[in-house]
Symmetry: C2
Subunit: 333 residues, 2 copies
Amino acid sequence: MDGLKSYLDIVKECDNFPYKTDNPSLYNSYLKNYYAFKVARIPRPFTFPDGWVVDHERQELILAPALDDNLTESEKAREKARRRTSLMDSTLKTMSTTSTHPEFTSLARKWRDETFPIYTTTTKPKTLLLEIERSASALFGILTSGVQLTAYTTDPATNELKIWVARRSRRKQTYAGMLDSAAAGGLETRMVPLEGIVREAVEEASLDEGVVRRGLKCVGALSYYHVMSPSPSSSSPNKARDAKLEEVGFLQPETEYIYELHLDSDTRPKPGDSEVEEFYLWSVEELKAALLRGEFKLNSAIVVIDFFVRHGVITAENERDYVEIVCRLHRRL
Amino acid sequence: MDGLKSYLDIVKECDNFPYKTDNPSLYNSYLKNYYAFKVARIPRPFTFPDGWVVDHERQELILAPALDDNLTESEKAREKARRRTSLMDSTLKTMSTTSTHPEFTSLARKWRDETFPIYTTTTKPKTLLLEIERSASALFGILTSGVQLTAYTTDPATNELKIWVARRSRRKQTYAGMLDSAAAGGLETRMVPLEGIVREAVEEASLDEGVVRRGLKCVGALSYYHVMSPSPSSSSPNKARDAKLEEVGFLQPETEYIYELHLDSDTRPKPGDSEVEEFYLWSVEELKAALLRGEFKLNSAIVVIDFFVRHGVITAENERDYVEIVCRLHRRL
């Protein structure tokens, strides 16, 4: 073994919740560790005083705040979301100070004061059920969304493709010092993907907003089901930081909206906030080598793989797991 | 209703085998109509004289020809594949003349004398189990592979993207007169995707082989699980020809390897064999209109949708079902 990963290894590290069709008993052994998180349609008679219901038999955790009945139907939906958000917020704050469980005590330190939205999955259009503090979303296995930008250029002398790669700040809480996309971020409540990626590109990479808006291309979405594990790549010296011990087993189903930006050869991204330490302009070969050494943040690694697929670097001819890779980059959640 | 489909409608017409997670009882009602097709590892004691075993209880159909024991291990694998291929071939030929079932009697007319390969799904590398006559593969629900080429150009005056679209011959057995990719075809036994698409581009679109090989880019793979239905788009005047009555219910899980070719504005594909009647050079808007009117062959329609996703025509902003569409274009089979 040369310590290098295969592309499929990388995809599997990211999309690592088992598939039922591959191994039903493994899948079920995972499932039995989790409770479904639900919100009740109406306040239920057996609601606990604080609005939470735990049903151990059905493995369900239900959020059902009491509701004022003197409301119109349209007020009700918004009021329900507000109540749930407020109940979730106060519960998390209380737990972070009173609980002795490390997943709660660590919340105070990780608290970001940004919320992720939780939507209905079965209605069209989807409606907002509640908002949850960003750092707590993994506690509930909430489906989160993010945006990722691959910025690249064409070498004027050689016509060669060159890709901008970010080195994450060594002071970041997560994946410190690892490699990353030119810009990326989570989609907070009420943020649409396009505005999210424009903001990240301007803030993290100091790119001109006009340049970004004119050149930006939406080129797909990746989705995967990640379970946090203590050390996803212990074989590698450049060990990926995945979960702290208190987070092991947390579920992170995630959708990433993928954008591309072809830059002029004289436009250079520069670190704009404390997120990025440095930008590199790499050839496909340099990028591939760093990727297979495991130096990328997990969900940015699969963005590189998707870029390689779309640009004909990874092909049906040179990659034996081609179809499996392409399908697992797009898991239906 | 204006009679136009949505992009998701089109994807769902193609990927139309139900998902277990969406509706377990519908999924199971589909499953009970099918028998698993298996090949036995070793000749089994209860093998019928003709090498076929039908196990009604387990819903299994097993192909297990007797094997000469005086063979080395490496000879055995190849010999087994040869025996199974030969048994399958003679069974199909016999059935096509002696059976009164329309799915068999129609075989003689549809016989193409090209075979599709059937591989192991669990071993790495995959090995060939047997070959099956192309026109009979849907009888067994065999996973087939194909190649599709989108040829496009950039208008030198306006810099606008223009896409080459083929009109299928009105004399073709399947999807006669409908719109199609610039070149496409099924992957026969021992044909790799790249060679398959080069051959189709040269034969069907009369493109120069050198031009094709230099410009061709492998940009992904689509996969879907199709069940043949009598009229997938009865609401449309340009009704897609899907299954003949004798084929209703046939399973067609399929993987399509996707290629792109950017052509100079003075290179024009021309019908090269009897497959294509005419080529059109269309703007994105013209292509989109024809697509949503349901004028494309089903699995070429999703190639257009995938092209639109990769080229930023369909985006996270303008398409509410964006993530669902992208995931269902890449069903894990």
